[in-house]
Amino acid sequence: MKIEVDHRAGLPGVFVRQNGKVRINAGTLHYRELNNMVKGAAAEGLEEIELDNVYGQRYIGSGIRRPVRINIHGVPGNDLGAFMDGPRITVDRNAQDGVGNTMNSGIIVVHGRAGDIVAMGMRGGKIFIRDGVGYRAAIHMKEYRRHVPVLVIGGESQDFLGEYMAGGLVVVLGLGKKGKPKLTARHIGTGMHGGLIFLRGEVEEHQLGKEAAAEPATASDLELIRPHVEEYAGYFGGSADEILGSGFIKLFAKSHRPFGGLYAY
């Protein structure tokens, strides 16, 4: 095994190469320096990049178009995987705002919670958040042909989940609460004109945006989300059958032309 160790061992920016893998000590590096190193490693064709001591560096995973694995140890900054097209990112703690902003393909797995606007404008790929997320998750998520983005939230979401949603699939598991979870988010699916949201547990009519319709998920609906719930359980543990067995509500758009009749022609 060939190991190169930077002589500044222990300082930010240490770059260790090891069998097609690198370790970078992010520390107090500026995001631009860190991302340059990550992009450089990806461009070399390395398959796996370990980032240690990540302290809020932004835009990790942006501008890389290879299915490289990026394992983040620490808390990445805003816009993790913004405009991302390919990488597979794992975060071992919480993530901040804008995870997967306008993401095109790839996978992001967060072993913790994430902030606001997770999956904003996302068009492809998958995001798995072990715990809850902040406001406006999946806002304006969309889909196009084979590109159907998937967001699985293990805990709860805050208000305006799926606002303006135009496509894609969102699954909120509401785990971590005893019995059947009761969601507290309001304005869910406001302005929704495409895509599907599955919520485990109960939701009242007044919590929904007026453009969203709700009905109990059918067996075939559950088959649609099964692979994603199984993938979630694969990352974070738990039993997909148990989760799927406890009843979901399906939200969908009442119309894909919500503003069709608004204007005087």
Binding site: Y59, F83, G98, Y164, H256, P258, F259
Partner: protein, 503 residues
């Protein structure tokens, strides 16, 4: 319900000249004209006429005259024909009034109250036909200081410059999305920009795959809907523009109605066919200047810091303070769109009542950025009612680095500013997705007409510069001493930063 709206236009047909060729009937997508073979006569339903003059222009015998309907509503300075017709339309439909193109209200056009200087006797004028004249313009952040060293006995630039756009003339084509205009119109703009050494702007509707080859002359827009924004789109662009607002509809979003989302539009915007393409009013990742900075740097990071990033806003009351924030947020270009800026569709009340004239916004922004010592950190591009080369010269002297032209470019391609873009029935093949209509605009001809326009304007700019004894557009930039106001109040002069003529 019987409509109380009187026809806006009358179509008069000279029966002696009419040869029953039916060109008018075939050309009108609004179905105004029809031929009755029993009577061997051509008739018109004037209530449908929008006044685009396609029929009159193509009539081979000049048999058609389209004119305003002279029928008077009872004279009243408040309750004008337009006001009444708007109310009738809303009483009949219950909808929001829609319109196209820029504000047509009579707000002062300051370009027409500003005159240019010329040299007489001293500082002699320059003849651009004989002497070199530089219109080349670079857009992007300029360094605070330039360090020049020597390498091998030759001077070399030590300062590392940030990415710049190089324009051969300080005129670019404004953001107009595929969806608002036809594919042929987009191709015309792209080819003209490439040929003339300038840039066109995709607008927020993505970039058609066939137009990627003009990427070096393309500014790709990222708006709140993020339509068609993906890695290839970001990579192919010469520059990126974050669209915050638009002069025709400051503060509101927009949407392309589902019926216009054809297979090709769906492919380009990357949304399903037939669904409304909704652009929310704000970007939901931008609620502050700090958030704006975050998106600017996200785009820079995603494109490896190789492209300038522009931020476009509508000119509103606090444009100067907002522009300062935009520059401090790291934008390389600030684009300002005034109240007369065009649109494919906007609520009439918004278009006609929100925003400020671009001349005032430009002067205020340039002054503010200079006062704060950050004018060099971004270029300023203005849009919204640039109608001629004289407007361009005045804009540059007021402080603009370059201008965007939208309406003027469409007019060059045949637009008659009938303001019915939102119907999608443009008889000139521009603001439509109907293949029968859009093939009327041949991209060879469209591109030629646009290049001709830029060529003519560029020559005129050189003449005006030469007349002032200036041989580079750079020497005119922000040179407000070469401007004088005519018939303006002291307050207007102060905002514009110019003197009154005669002083």
């Amino acid at each position: 319900m019987k409509s109380y709206i009187l026809p806006q236009y009358l179509v008069e047909r000279d029966d002696y000249r009419c040869i029953r060729c039916e060109v008018c009937a075939r050309q009108c997508a609004f179905d105004v004209h029809w031929y009755d073979d029993e009577e061997d006569a051509v008739f018109a339903d004037e209530s449908k006429c929008v006044g685009c003059l396609r029929c009159a222009t193509l009539c081979p015998t000049n048999a058609l005259v389209v004119r305003h309907n002279p029928t008077q509503i009872p004279p009243n300075a408040n309750w004008t024909r337009e006001v009444l017709h708007n109310i009738y339309k809303q009483a009949e439909t219950g909808g929001v009034l829609l319109t196209g193109m820029g504000c047509d209200k009579g707000y002062p056009i300051y370009w027409d109250r500003i005159v240019l200087d010329a040299s007489q006797v001293t500082n002699p004028s320059i003849d651009p036909l004989r002497e070199p004249m530089e219109l080349r313009t670079y857009l992007g952040a300029k360094p605070d200081v330039v360090e020049v060293g020597r390498k091998g006995g030759k001077p070399s630039l030590e300062t590392k410059l940030t990415p710049q756009l190089r324009l051969e003339t300080p005129i670019m084509f404004s953001a107009i999305s595929y969806g608002a205009i036809s594919y042929n119109a987009c191709e015309s703009l792209a080819r003209a920009a490439a040929e003339a050494g300038t840039y066109y702007n995709t607008g927020e509707g993505g970039l058609h795959r066939n137009l990627y080859k003009y990427g070096d002359h393309t500014i790709c827009q990222v708006a709140s809907g993020r339509f068609g924004v993906h890695a290839d789109y970001l990579e192919v662009a010469a520059a990126l523009e974050i669209k915050i607002g638009q002069g025709a509809k400051p503060g509101i979003g927009g949407h392309l109605p589902g019926e216009k989302v054809s297979a090709e539009i769906s492919r380009t915007r990357m949304i399903p066919k037939g669904t409304d393409a909704i652009s929310p009013a704000p970007h939901h990742d931008i609620y502050s200047i700090e958030d704006l900075a975050q998106l600017i740097y996200a785009l820079k990071e995603a494109t490896h810091w190789e492209k300038p990033v522009s931020v476009k806003i509508a000119a509103v009351h606090n444009a100067a303070a907002i522009a300062s924030g935009i520059v401090r947020a790291g934008a390389d270009i600030v684009a300002l769109d005034g109240i007369r800026g065009g649109t494919g569709a906007a609520p009439t009340m918004i278009r006609d009542n929100v925003g400020i004239p671009i001349e005032l916004a430009l002067a205020a922004v340039d002054t503010r950025l200079r006062e704060e010592g950050i004018r060099n950190r971004a270029s300023v591009v203005v849009a919204g009612g640039i109608r001629s080369s004289a407007d361009v010269v005045k804009a540059v002297a007021l402080g603009a680095d370059a201008v965007y032209i939208g309406t003027a470019a469409l007019v060059a391609m045949g637009c008659h500013v009938c303001q019915k873009c939102y119907t999608g029935k443009c008889n000139w093949g521009i603001a439509t997705q109907d293949p029968y209509l859009s093939k009327r605009l041949n991209p060879d001809v469209g591109a030629r007409r646009l290049v001709n326009l830029l060529r003519g304007w560029s020559h005129e700019i050189m003449e005006m510069l030469g007349g002032m004894g200036i041989n580079a557009i750079e020497s005119l930039r922000g040179n407000r001493l070469r401007l004088r106001g005519v018939g303006l109040t002291q307050e207007e002069l102060d905002i514009l930063g110019i003197k009154h003529a005669g002083s």
